[in-house]
């Protein structure tokens, strides 16, 4: 049985996920507590056809800053279309950039 916490973004933020307040709430009430308990997360973007860098930043930047690459082992991004994937990758990349690469 998969014990990972599942977050259905469409149910909370609709087909264009841009509401940062919702992203922050998901981050603070689900993502951060879950990873602190060493549990995995599935962030499901089914039926989401667009999003903003600001939304994804509010969702995952803090866990990336706190956990570094270890966060990537705990999280799975499911059913992302190419746009969502690209924006997730952009946020991951700039969140994990090392000072010596600046």
């Amino acid at each position: 049985m998969d014990t990972r916490i599942q977050i259905a973004v469409f149910e909370i933020a609709s087909n264009f996920a841009e509401n940062k307040d919702i992203a922050k709430e998901i981050r603070d009430t689900i993502i951060l507590p879950t990873i602190k308990n060493n549990k995995g997360i599935i962030i499901d973007f089914a039926k989401v056809d667009g999003t903003t860098q600001s939304f994804i930043h509010a969702l995952i930047n803090e866990p990336l800053r706190e956990q570094g690459e270890a966060f990537l082992k705990m999280v799975e991004f499911k059913n992302c279309n190419n746009i969502v994937k690209n924006i997730v990758l952009a946020v991951v990349e700039y969140s994990l950039i090392r000072p010596e690469d600046l």
Partner: protein, 325 residues
């Protein structure tokens, strides 16, 4: 003498200067301000409409009475349909039956909360009859980022005034977002050596700066990349982008025919203008998107992602470590 705001016969991102010569906040002891339309007034692009509405709302809050002159100029009916007159002349009586706005424009909307923005975005795509998800994403992206900037940075209970118009022949969507908040300089003052409006505007368009944190790529809530992404969308489609605050405006110029697409981390590396204006207490943004050139929106995002790291020594490579299923 009361303050007079002169509205030229037209104002667009192509020709904004006459409109921006107004001293919008030069109020006198006479608590009245006049909006004087050019007798041959034809047209204001959405950003100017949004600015006027934000200004009129501010006047209402501080007890300045707004009156109009030459309200009978023929182009004023268009401003009525865009919803501007309910802010500057609420008792204006149109001689026309109000049409459903669908297909050509999004009437002026005051956005004060996240819920207002959510509703506005969900309404705008069907209203503009955008025929692909990619085109819808480009427009929704810009409106979301620019309006959220107001809700997060303008200060106090400042609202955003948003409007948009679709020019079918040119396949162009013009978007305008304006506020009378604290302005960009106030938000960035003291950081990165920002001491004047011109520097503030330029730095705000670089990713990471306006995350209101001195750390690279901003704070946990904000990367400070919204203006960069939005400008890049306009740039990719070869269109204008205007950002103004305080006493300066920046205008990204249209790409010339045959010129290669080259998104840049530094807004001054684009073909652009930086000009003084009389003064705007707050911020206003104009974004033009040529939706026939949007193509695959993902291609735009990829180019923006590359430009993000343009000035860095090395582009990070974490892509293989991200689990997509």
């Amino acid at each position: 003498m009361p303050l007079v705001i002169s509205i030229p016969n037209q104002c667009s991102t192509n020709a904004p200067r006459k409109f921006l010569e107004n001293d919008f906040f030069g109020f006198t002891e006479d608590k009245t301000a006049f909006i004087k339309f050019h007798p041959a007034f034809v047209y204001l692009q959405p950003f100017a409409i949004s600015m006027l509405a934000a200004w009129a709302d501010y006047c209402n809050q501080v007890g300045v009475r707004v009156e109009t002159e030459n309200i009978k100029a023929s182009g004023v009916e268009y401003l009525w349909r865009m919803g501007l007159l309910k802010y500057v002349q609420p008792d204006y009586k149109s001689t026309r039956t109000e049409h459903e706005p669908s297909g050509r424009f999004i009437p002026l909307t005051k956005v004060a909360t996240s819920e207002d923005l959510r509703k506005f975005i969900s309404d705008l795509v069907p209203l503009l009859h955008l025929d692909s998800v990619d085109k819808a994403n480009a427009v929704r992206y810009c409106i979301s980022e620019m309006t959220r900037n107001v809700l997060e940075h303008a200060g106090g209970n400042c609202s955003a005034f948003v409007s948009a118009q679709f020019f079918k022949d040119a396949q162009r969507v013009s978007i305008g977002v304006a506020d009378t908040g604290v302005g960009i300089l106030s938000t960035l003052k003291g950081k990165y050596g920002v001491a004047d409006d011109g520097t503030a505007i330029i730095e705000a368009m670089k990713p990471g700066i306006s995350g209101t944190s001195a750390n690279m790529y901003g704070s946990k809530d904000n990367a400070g990349a919204g203006l960069f992404f939005t400008k890049s969308i306009a740039d990719f489609t070869g269109e204008y982008f205007v950002l103004l605050s305080g006493n300066t405006y920046y205008r990204l110029m249209r790409r010339r025919i045959g010129e290669k697409i080259r998104l840049s981390f530094d807004p001054l590396q684009n073909r652009s203008q930086v000009c003084p204006i009389k003064g705007w207490n707050g911020t206003a943004v104009a974004i033009d998107i040529n939706i026939s050139r949007v193509g695959n929106f993902n291609d735009i995002v990829s180019l923006i992602r590359d430009a993000f790291f343009e000035s860095r020594k090395a582009k990070p490579s974490f892509a293989a470590k991200v689990k997509f299923t």
